[in-house]
Symmetry: C2
Subunit: 211 residues, 2 copies
Amino acid sequence: MRPWRSGPSDRRGYHHGNLKEALIEAARRFIAERGIGGFTLVDAARLVGVSPAALYRHFRGREALLEEVAERGFAELAGRLARALRGPGTPLERFTRMGEAYLTFAEEEPGYYAAIFEARPAPPEGCPPQITRDRDAFGLLVEALRSTFPDGFPGVDPRFVALEVWALSHGIATLSAAGRLPAGPGLPTKYDLLRAGVLALVHGARPTRAS
Amino acid sequence: MRPWRSGPSDRRGYHHGNLKEALIEAARRFIAERGIGGFTLVDAARLVGVSPAALYRHFRGREALLEEVAERGFAELAGRLARALRGPGTPLERFTRMGEAYLTFAEEEPGYYAAIFEARPAPPEGCPPQITRDRDAFGLLVEALRSTFPDGFPGVDPRFVALEVWALSHGIATLSAAGRLPAGPGLPTKYDLLRAGVLALVHGARPTRAS
DNA sequence: TGTACATCAGTGAACGCGCGTTCACTGATGTAC
DNA sequence: TGTACATCAGTGAACGCGCGTTCACTGATGTAC
């Protein structure tokens, strides 16, 4: 990519100069507003001020653009989680902040969040990138659990606890995004819910499961 | 609706006789396969063997059909939950079975489940039916908690615990539907996850929240 | 420093498609007499 | 019991629309000489 001359100029001309990034950004915003299904190449191009055909200089098509958005979103999420975990405080404080970072990401970046989660049932070919991404994120969570509770959990695989924490976080994030968590003064925030829930899950981890 | 002459005849003729129900059923199946966004009136009509225009004898349009599907789905879900709760066993056993019924519903009826949860951000008019539905379902859960744990939770509103249980259930159901819960022999099933998680949430309910 | 040229990121018109919806209509049904 | 008729659930053709994608093209850019 051509080195872009510095300065705040928003530029406009025959060559956009930053089209790929601008399209990803536009997609992120439209997905946030209307969901994956409501996202349209034509709208994205219009927002950026470019003809729809220009898109094909940078992406193979709609799916490729969505995949790129999911990729960016995942990188952003992973970065936020890692940063929260690396911060100051006791292990438990940092773990708690990681949960908050997850909810905050889902709230601030609903486009990314949706792209990450919807971007593919995809044909049952190899499809390794997705698997890899999940494994990376999940591994991060498991590692965080291990370092936060170095003594582990009596008889329970940390991955089991990690799955529960993830499911709770995802549930809170999606219910909240759908406007289905009762909210208001005096009511618990989603952060309250997650904090208390994670503590309970972590403390309550006992060998109660059947298999 | 004309009394339908009995018999297993699938019938075919100028008058379908059962078109409204057949369309709802078709919508349910297509949403399950392709999601809300992938659902199409034309496909539904084709599956039922009727011209697309026929639909408008029974629904005001696409949105109305989706709303009807969501309504049916919600009724089915509420019925299943209530039935599980009314069954035999100790209160805790019945409460646990209610959770299983939730997951089973989400798995067996992904069309209904998606319709229930996606069927509307809807303009900020009165929109009472949705609110009412949520309140009904949530009230059922709160009632179940109260009767399962008649002594309550030390210093914690049962509705708080109910929200956490719901969020966990929803998170597990959606992750599972998205194929993102690692599954296989030796790995915990989603039922294991929910059972252990609910126990932990219920036992761990303590006054830890900030607000 | 100036000019010819290769490169390639853009244009804009067009395409085929499938969608939701409408319309005037038609044919089956059940009822009144 | 037979017939005329009102009702209304269906048809099928058509609509306007916006979509993703293609194509031959054009104009700006940066480089070689």
